[in-house]
Amino acid sequence: MEYIKPFKRILLVGCNECVTVCAAGGRKEVGLLASGLHMAVLKSGATIEIREHTLERQCDPEYVEELVPMIDGVEAVMSMACGCGVQEIARRFKNKPVFPALNTKFMGASERQGVWSERCQGCGDCLLGMTGGICPIARCAKQLMNGPCGGSTGGHCEIGEDTDCAWALIWERLKALGQIERYVEITPAKDWRPGGGSGPRKIIREDLAE
């Protein structure tokens, strides 16, 4: 709300990809947020015009180009995409303020209807082959590489009963797979460079890049 306070006309942009799947920033949520913002602004005694548009994908410049005819008619843009989409719009439209409507949290999977949980932190040095397909970087609160901490009780993490202990899962799975030797082997201190330890990361596919 504070972000859009100074403006009379904004563009609220959704994205048809991941944020649609997790019901956070698709066409439907754009409609809901626009109505909510409308009411809130009216209640505060001001008025605002909110234009709505949902792009196929906000993280690709080709799709963001679609906003060109709309952008001059608004004072600011609010993006309901993940942080990648917000930044792509900011990169394309240099003279327009862009604000995030979401707090992008993690790369996760659907546990069940309406429940998502973190599965991958993009560490760039995948351990899943050693850990029975369960990631201790994304799913252990302490990112332990060799075994559980003292807070593992009854298969739960100490941060809460609704969080599984990744190492309890890894142990059980390796046992079931007959791969206990993978647990016994000491995993050395991790090289965090591919995981962002040496700054923003980039992937260049020579065969695809122009």
């Binding site: 609160a141 302490k142 990112q143 332990l144 590489m145 060799n146 075994g147 559980p148 901490c149 003292g150 807070g151 593992s152 009780t153 009854g154 993490c157 100490e158 941060i159 190492w167 309890a168 142990w171 059980e172 206990i180 647990y183 016994v184 000491i186 995993t187 050395p188 201190a189 991790k190 965090w192």
Partner: protein, 290 residues
């Protein structure tokens, strides 16, 4: 004789735990150390691993050494990356501390600075490996050191609530020994018979195992631990004993002393945790006949 030499000579060691202050008033810490001097072989000084910001263990350990008491300082991975850890380890050696205990840090959100960012650059095995590497005259990146430190390092074990956790913990303890732990500290023992069964599983790891004995200061604390830590094994009988006692404070001291005495024939040493009641240590050791 030093803590290391006593353990290696298979003599029984008595350890006490003393926390550094949250602040700079060290008078209690120093007084407690002076009071217990001569009755314990070394004092374990925790760092901020329980999640409470306080003066660091390195300074606490130096204070112990200044009182003529050998120190064992905690080292853990939550708050320091491999650069800071190695720097502290080198500093510890130079300041006269030769015993390190690698422990697990309480999860950041459970501490008193719950908004802080955890580091967790390396884990316990990584840290034990780093200590070993430094002792060989190299740092973790493979660069030569100008003077290598020497340490006697231990690791801690976690409480286990069930058989699956126990099996996993024993396998993990073996990894820590392989990574360089030369002794192991167990969680508090409230049931000596149950501990004996646990001890059977870990004594074959080839390093001395030192159990912890925790002073139950009140009935409420005993009940809290019994309810919140399924792996602690506080029996109903023990709770009843404290409840029925006319002097519960004294009862706690007796329970701790009796536990130490009962463990003595089985193990190589014991750590007495008194959590703020360090002035009760002499009484506990009296009951234990030490």
């Amino acid at each position: 004789m030093s803590f290391q030499k006593r353990l290696q000579a298979k003599e029984f060691v008595v350890l006490a735990e003393m926390h550094t202050p949250k602040g700079v008033n060290i008078s209690r810490l120093v007084n407690d150390a002076r009071r217990i001097k001569g009755r314990v072989d070394a004092i374990v000084v925790p760092d901020m691993d329980n999640g409470i910001m306080r003066m660091n263990a390195l300074a606490g350990g130096v204070l112990m050494q200044q009182q003529g008491v050998e120190a064992i300082i905690h080292l853990y991975c939550r708050d320091r990356n491999r650069m800071a850890l190695q720097g502290d380890i080198l500093a510890a050696h130079v300041l006269g501390i030769h015993n390190l205990l690698v422990v697990r840090g309480e999860e950041m959100s459970q501490g008193d600075h719950s908004e802080a960012k955890a580091v967790d650059d390396v884990d316990e095995c990584g840290l034990l490996g780093a200590i070993g590497t430094l002792q060989k005259g190299k740092d973790m990146a493979g660069f030569d050191l100008d003077g290598a430190p020497t340490f006697f390092s231990g690791a801690s074990l976690a409480p286990c609530a069930d058989e699956a956790a126990l099996e996993r913990e024993v396998a993990f303890a073996a990894k820590k020994v392989a990574a360089g732990a030369r002794w192991l500290l167990t969680p508090p023992v409230y049931d000596v018979a149950r501990f004996a069964a646990f001890y059977e599983r870990v004594k074959g790891l080839g390093v001395p195992v030192v159990p912890t004995v925790f002073l139950l200061k009140s009935l409420a604390i005993a009940q809290y631990i019994a309810n919140s830590e399924p792996g602690a094994n506080i029996s109903d009988e023990l709770i009843r004993r404290i409840r029925k006692s006319s002097d519960r404070e004294q009862e706690g001291i007796h329970i701790a002393g009796e536990t130490v005495a009962a463990l003595k024939p089985m193990v190589q040493g014991v750590l007495v945790q008194t959590l703020g009641w360090e002035h009760k240590l002499p009484a506990i050791l009296d009951v234990a006949g030490l």
